[in-house]
């Protein structure tokens, strides 16, 4: 079905979403939005994995296996990340990363 779409289009879309997420991580103040942007970046890498796996992995689905592991790591990351945000919020009621100064070294 995607025979006419070049591989580069998928990789470019993946890169675009990755850098949108990266810009979000760098510019937003809200810690929960930063977590969402990290999820966007992880999902963008998934698209690159699947695209290359479809093109190059003619015998098996090794690229897709890595996508499954990215899913696992993303789930673990968002659970622990939100727990840290909630713990910091309980200490001081803000999710603003500019205001949380206690964690500075």
């Amino acid at each position: 079905m995607s025979a006419l779409v070049p591989l580069g289009a998928f990789i470019a879309l993946s890169a675009a979403l990755f850098f949108i997420g990266m810009a979000g991580v760098l510019v937003r103040r809200n810690a929960i939005v930063i977590l969402m942007c990290v999820e966007l970046m992880l999902n963008a890498t998934n698209l690159a994995f699947v695209a290359f796996s479809r093109r190059l992995g003619l015998l098996d689905e090794r690229g897709s296996v890595f996508v499954v592991f990215v899913f696992v790591v993303a789930a673990a990351e968002v659970a622990v990340g939100l727990a840290i945000v909630l713990a910091a919020y309980r200490n001081r009621p803000t999710v603003d990363v500019d205001e949380v100064k206690e964690m500075r070294g």
């Binding site: 070049p6 969402m36 699947v50 093109r55 727990a83 945000v85």
Partner: protein
């Protein structure tokens, strides 16, 4: 309309929706809007996986990202109520350098990405469930077990972090 045009059309539509919703996540004023736009991005990404012929991954994507992670994020939003604030406090102090760094890093990657000109998928095959499962449970059996230990550790860690004394 011949069937050959459907693939590129679908790709264009999904790409526009993904990039638009992704920008919306970064730029939306309300955090709930950001969360729902994130879910929308993930849903369109599942469509992209179907377009690539990875139906199992698309199903996982909907189950894990659109279902579990979005609900988890919405719980996080619910438990951290914020007073409404001025849009000027919306971005960090280092917004301009941050956006510049992202743009400068994006440029060479995009140039390299467009160098892959051959078609994205080879000849059509059956579903991807069988090859995926046979790879996962033979060659990647040990990483699979490590991943389950990671999930257990993350679950215990999250419980310990949010537990009240």
């Amino acid at each position: 309309m011949s069937l050959d045009i459907v693939g590129p059309l679908l790709f264009g539509l999904l790409a526009v929706l993904i990039v638009g919703a992704g920008l919306g996540v970064v730029l939306a004023d309300r955090i709930t809007t950001s969360a729902l736009l994130m879910a929308f991005t993930f849903l369109n990404m599942a469509g992209m996986f179907v377009l690539l012929g990875a139906e199992t991954i698309a199903a996982f994507q909907i189950l894990i990202y659109v279902g579990a992670i979005t609900v988890l994020i919405l719980y996080g939003v619910m438990f951290t109520p914020q007073a409404p604030r001025a849009y000027g406090l919306f971005f960090q102090k280092q917004t301009t350098p941050g956006a510049l760094i992202a743009a400068v890093a994006a440029l060479p990657v995009m140039v390299v990405a467009f160098a892959f000109r051959d078609a994205a998928s080879g000849p059509p095959r059956g579903g991807d469930l069988l090859p995926l499962a046979s790879s996962l449970f033979t060659d990647f059996a040990f990483p699979f077990e490590v991943a389950s230990v990671l999930l257990l550790a993350a679950m215990i860690g999250a419980i310990v972090l949010v537990k009240r004394e």
